[in-house]
């Protein structure tokens, strides 16, 4: 019987060529549509709260720590210096709770000794952090993050910038 799909020498016949084109066009069409469908699920614009925001004037913060609930952020004040620490556990993102110690405690962090009045503990998997945000027990792989603080020139409010991580020695002097 004569092979209608390809000629005896294995050359492409018109029929098999058109068949291949048809199949390729169908597959490309399906792939293109699939791409369009899935691409629509990747948002182009995020209507989310800004990463950089004002948290109030320096006078509004007392000595020690203040927890900004909706921002998951601790703002610390020591006389006229300020710094901001994240309350998001570095393990899996739960919000750590500040546990005030009955009396201040001296702990060794790396080579230096610090005095802490509170610690941060995570309710989800039991990670624990010293008062300076250093992880010391539980599954947390990293210390809590610190963010850049600045003063708004127009009204003197403190501005936190969550997109800018800083070293834990960072201090804003007002």
């Amino acid at each position: 019987m004569k092979n209608v799909k390809s000629s005896p020498e294995g050359l492409t016949t018109r029929r098999s060529f058109l068949g291949k084109i048809g199949l390729t066009a169908t597959l490309l069409g399906v792939a293109g549509q699939a791409f369009a469908f899935f691409r629509s699920l990747v948002p182009n614009v995020l209507y989310e709260p800004p990463q950089r925001f004002k948290v109030g004037t320096a006078e509004q913060f007392g000595e020690g720590a203040k927890f900004l609930e909706d921002k998951k952020l601790f703002i610390f004040r020591n006389k006229n210096t300020f710094y901001a620490m994240s309350a998001i556990c570095t393990h899996l993102g739960c919000t750590v709770k500040m546990e005030r110690l009955n009396q201040s405690k001296k702990v060794k962090v790396g080579s230096r000794e610090i005095e802490e009045v509170a610690e941060f503990h995570c309710p989800c998997h039991g990670s624990r952090y010293y008062g300076d945000g250093t992880n010391y027990s539980g599954p947390a792989p990293k210390p809590l993050f610190f963010y850049k603080l600045e003063v708004a020139p127009e009204d003197g409010q403190l501005i936190v910038d969550l997109s800018k991580k800083v070293e834990k020695d960072f201090r804003l002097t007002v």
């Binding site: 699920l41 990747v42 948002p43 995020l46 989310e48 709260p49 927890f67 609930e69 909706d70 998951k72 570095t90 393990h91 899996l92 993102g93 739960c94 919000t95 709770k97 500040m98 005030r100 503990h121 995570c122 309710p123 989800c124 998997h125 039991g126 624990r128 539980g138 599954p139 947390a140 792989p141 990293k142």
Partner: protein
């Protein structure tokens, strides 16, 4: 309509369920759509309560209950972050039978996770993922389909308990999507796609809602159909292979409706085939009404037990989702607590380099377990004698390893459920937790 007309109509409707002869029984399977996936005759061992415990059937019945209750819940639930919690509260306190429908949906979901798992344990311990003697079997493939169905069941549960948008939901999404983002390279991208953004908001809720109500159930239905089709193609349950092996081969005249390999007919001077007659009457019964009757018993029992459990265990609804307060302790549902234990215990540090437990316990270990399950049948070198029998001697070592893994998961689940308190601290089950303020 006359009396006799009514009687004949009634007979027309129900004869397939109550056939009066073997011939009618065979016809029913061909004629009745609901029965078409059954064989005309079924072997007695396949019907045994004690071989399979009907765990797969129970799972399928639970899925049916979940589908029906789920459709009604879809009419009553609003997938928006402002109204989701309130609509679930309405279900609990305002809508007639709302709390029963939600409770039945929830308890069936819990039971389904349990029964899919038990079904997997049964299949493993009976070596039922192994091919037996019949031609064109592919039981290992069906085992893989089963593993995927187990994963889909877990995903359905996860996406389901997010929907009330209470504290459990919010923190489960937080932890769940952060586990995803612990994956190397693509992790953050996956979290972004799952949430439809970088914060847990409306985009996340609607995605999980559509996955829960449409995509995942659709996958389950497609794979479940294939799972059942394969069981038929593989010649029924694995215990049928066992039966045909134990049966003495007899010389019989070839059956015109069957195909035989040449080896079966070339010996001897007359045309005879050596075959084990498992479809002989002494081993089989008509599917209708014998199989259907047992099926009805299983359906009824599953519905009754699920309904009673619904009254015993009220479905909880925690406080409305609050992104700023993590409950203490924040516990996943019981079937994920072994994973919560794993991500807690697997962070380790090597020379100043720390690997997050989220990656080890949340991604790598589960992936290894799944991969091991998928590949296991291909490394099982035991003979066909260990197909379709509980605790086969040849598979003793395998079964012990498997049971150790099962027990380890059970132990971690127990610890997570009964021995973890505030700040995920260890407590004895009878110990009371220390008082912790929910706010400070």
């Amino acid at each position: 309509m006359t009396m006799s007309n009514a009687k004949s109509l009634l007979k027309k409707l129900k004869w397939t369920w109550q056939p009066e002869s073997s011939r009618e029984a065979g016809d029913s399977v061909v004629r009745n759509f609901l029965l078409h996936w059954f064989p005309a005759k079924i072997t007695r061992p396949s019907m045994s309560w004690g071989y399979s415990f009907w765990l797969g059937t129970i799972t399928a019945v639970l899925f049916l209950i979940l589908t029906i209750t789920g459709v009604f819940l879809m009419f009553l639930y609003v997938p928006s972050v402002e109204r989701a919690y309130l609509s679930v509260k309405d279900l609990e306190f305002v809508i007639s039978f709302g709390s029963f429908i939600r409770g039945l949906h929830r308890i069936s979901a819990h039971l389904m996770v349990a029964f899919v798992f038990l079904h997997l344990v049964r299949v493993f311990l009976t070596g039922a993922y192994k091919n037996g003697t019949a031609a064109n079997q592919n039981r290992p493939l069906n085992w893989i389909v089963g593993v995927i169905l187990l994963l889909l069941t877990l995903l359905l549960s996860f996406t389901g308990y997010l929907l009330p948008w209470d504290q459990l939901a919010f923190w489960a999404i937080t932890v769940g999507t952060n586990i995803a983002s612990a994956a190397p390279v693509v992790g953050d991208w996956i979290r972004f796609i799952l949430l439809g953004g970088s914060t847990i908001e409306q985009g996340a809720l609607i995605r999980f809602y559509v996955l829960h109500c449409f995509f995942l159930p659709l996958f389950v239905i497609v794979l479940f159909s294939y799972h059942m089709w394969r069981v038929r193609k593989d010649g029924g349950l694995a215990c049928v292979d066992r039966l045909s092996l134990s049966e003495k081969k007899e010389a019989v005249a070839p059956n015109k409706k069957k195909t035989y390999s040449l080896l079966g007919i070339t010996s001897g001077s007359t045309v005879h085939v050596q075959t084990a007659l498992v479809d002989h009457e002494r081993h089989t019964v008509d599917s209708s009404p014998n199989l259907t009757r047992r099926l009805m018993v299983v359906i009824l029992a599953t519905m009754v037990v699920a309904s009673i459990l619904t009254f015993i265990f009220q479905a909880p609804l925690e406080e409305a989702a609050n992104p700023s307060i993590t409950p203490n302790p924040a516990k996943a549902p019981w079937y994920f607590l072994w994973l919560q234990e794993l991500v807690t215990d697997t962070t380790f540090t090597v020379g100043g380099f720390t690997v997050n437990g989220a990656l080890i316990g949340g991604i790598i270990l589960p992936a290894v377990l799944i991969l091991a399950a998928i590949l296991w049948p291909y490394f099982d070198r035991s003979s066909v004698d260990s197909v379709g029998i509980w605790f086969a001697k040849q598979r003793r070592k395998q079964n012990i390893i498997f049971l150790i893994i099962v027990l380890a998961i059970a132990a971690l689940t127990f610890i997570g459920t009964f021995m973890r308190g505030p700040y995920w601290g260890l407590y004895w089950p009878w110990e009371t937790w220390q008082e912790t303020p929910t706010k400070f």
